[in-house]
């Protein structure tokens, strides 16, 4: 067990080093950081919401969008570069199991996304804090109750975003284990992210009565197979305290994310075990 863990960690380490050297990672990180920093300039387009909410929505929206692009494209690229360049031949000819290889890829990619989320969340926190100081001063002068945000909530939300991106990585790895080409994995992986974002529609439909058992079965299966990626969107509740979070809701989302992550990695490992290199 310890030896297996060590092999997995070594593969993760090299995967991480390979990923952070990619220009694609640096490009998306800079682009996302610019988006978070520029949110202050765009706050006049706040659509009637509070400024801090606009800044938080803008920043976390960018974090998820660019994070998802990174999770899909980078994960598929890291997987297929090993297959196409035949470095996987060298690795898998050693006492490394297919599951260890896949887990190593997962943890390496997830660590890169961890850096991505941490950098953006830090910037987001700084921007929110700076604007909060100005708003508090203005509110005190006007005798109003100031709008604030929660640092603890920001950290929780960043962790949830990281978990959400982990779920995306595990889905892309499961698809890559089956796919023959990088392009197929990226296209299907992207569709899976879109389906995850829209999964709540199927959940709503499932709650409505229907005469068709086939339709109901389809919805039931869809809502089990496809994770609801919208459930991780708790910025309003956690960061701004705009709405209440039910007891245990964050924990339930956390557990749900971990369950999907483990399930997709298991499926990926089972598929990859039969793949001929």
């Amino acid at each position: 067990m310890q030896a297996s863990l060590r092999r997995t960690l070594w593969i993760s380490r090299v995967t991480f080093l390979e990923a952070v050297r990619q220009r694609f990672f640096a490009f998306l990180l800079v682009l996302s950081a610019a988006m978070v920093l520029s949110s202050v300039s765009f706050r006049v387009f706040d659509f009637g919401h509070g400024e801090l909410k606009f800044i938080a929505d803008f920043g976390f929206g960018g974090m998820f969008f660019f994070g998802s692009v990174l999770a899909v494209v980078m994960t598929a690229q890291l997987f297929f570069s090993e297959i196409d360049n035949r470095t996987a031949l060298t690795l898998l000819a050693k006492p490394v199991s297919r599951a260890e290889f896949l887990l190593g890829k997962f943890f390496g990619a997830w660590a890169v996304l961890g850096v991505f989320v941490a950098v953006l969340a830090s910037l987001q926190g700084t921007v929110l804090w700076a604007r909060e100081q100005e708003l508090v001063a203005q509110a005190e002068q006007a005798g109003r109750i100031p709008t604030t945000f929660s640092f603890g909530g920001l950290v929780q939300l960043a962790l949830l975003q990281w978990l959400r991106l982990g779920v995306v990585i595990s889905i892309v790895l499961a698809i890559s284990a089956l796919a023959r080409t990088f392009l197929f994995a990226v296209v299907v992986g992207s569709l899976a992210v879109v389906a995850g974002q829209l999964q709540w529609i199927a959940q709503d439909a499932l709650l409505r009565p229907t005469d068709s058992p086939v339709y109901a079965a389809f919805l039931w299966v869809s809502t089990r197979i496809i994770p609801n990626l919208q459930q991780f969107n708790l910025a309003d509740a956690l960061v701004l305290g705009a709405s209440a979070v039910e007891d245990g809701a964050v924990f339930a989302v956390f557990l749900s994310g971990l369950a999907y992550l483990a399930a997709y990695l298991t499926v990926g490992a089972l598929i990859f075990r039969r793949r001929e290199i």
């Binding site: 092999r7 070594w10 593969i11 090299v14 080093l17 060298t90 000819a93 050693k94 001929e276």
Partner: protein, 283 residues
């Protein structure tokens, strides 16, 4: 003692296209590769050599047949722990240095933490890569890539080393260096399976050879046995005059022997090249 590799009735079919047409890459192959020898696996491109090696290493599943490595079923971690592999045209992460790559492979191969440093330096020394070990792999020449590939294959001191085209694209000096590494491994009692198109080198370093064609085994045996023509003899004579030659032919004819050809001995172009460029390295 069991064979290093035992292959019994191995068959591999690949499915091609949507209709699933079968392509038989390996056809009822049986081989016993003894321990402690250098074994050459030869054949033209597409004859099933690399597929056979991949099946042995568990990278591809067999359609039928049984394989064991050092007495253990192949495709198990335990069997692979005792095996080293250098793939054809190896590619490694370019950002790693040679030493980092060999260390990485040592860790994956189960070398104990306390022994890693010594194992890495031993493997680098064996592959004559110690001086270049601190450089990123992206700066290596083809010959150096093969040598660092050899180092990663032997860093865990395996009992069996499988080399798939280790000299492909390497100049004769580099090729000779790899030949020396193979000899050094044999001197340590290791079993080496060598897949190569350089027949001259195979002839020099291998104890036994197997020749495959269209997935089937067409010849197997000790190099001396399969190459020797017991009904012919070669005499090398210095300062032979025409008169001496005529006398020798007459003497042989008197005993019923016939001289079929008289030529001047030649050295190989490879020997000449190596002699002229001895000492140069492809660093």
């Amino acid at each position: 003692m069991s064979s290093a590799i035992s292959v019994r009735h191995l068959t591999k079919d690949f499915r091609i296209g949507l209709r699933g047409l079968k392509l038989r890459a390996v056809d009822d192959l049986s081989l016993e590769i003894p321990r402690g020898q250098v074994y050459g696996l030869l054949g033209p491109n597409g004859c099933g050599k690399s597929t056979t090696l991949k099946i042995v290493l568990g990278l591809v599943t067999a359609t039928a047949g049984e394989i064991s490595i050092l007495g253990q079923p192949s495709a198990t971690s335990a069997a692979r722990r005792r095996t080293g592999f250098l793939p054809e045209a190896p590619y490694f992460h370019k950002f790693l240095t040679g030493r980092e790559l060999v260390r990485y492979c040592a860790q994956l191969s189960g070398v104990a933490d306390a022994d890693v440093d010594a194992a890495v330096e031993d493997a680098l020394g064996l592959a004559a890569m110690t001086e270049a070990a601190a450089r990123p792999i992206g700066t290596y020449s083809k010959g150096m890539l093969q040598r660092i590939g050899f180092a990663q294959a032997v860093v865990h001191d395996p009992e069996l080393v499988i080399l798939d085209e280790p000299t492909a694209g390497v100049d004769p000096v580099g090729s000779a260096a790899i030949g020396n590494m193979i000899q050094a491994m044999r001197a340590k009692g290791k079993t080496i399976v060598l897949c190569s198109h350089l027949l001259g080198q195979v002839e020099q370093v291998c104890d036994r050879v197997a020749i495959m064609d269209r997935g089937k085994l067409v010849l197997e045996g000790a190099v001396e046995d399969v190459l020797a023509r017991r009904d012919r003899h070669v005499l090398t004579v210095e300062a032979m005059t025409p008169a001496a030659r005529a006398a020798a032919e007459a003497a042989l004819a008197a005993h019923g022997a016939t001289v079929t050809s008289v030529t001047h001995p030649r050295r190989s172009l490879e020997d000449l090249f190596r002699e002229l460029v001895t000492g140069s390295r492809d660093a």
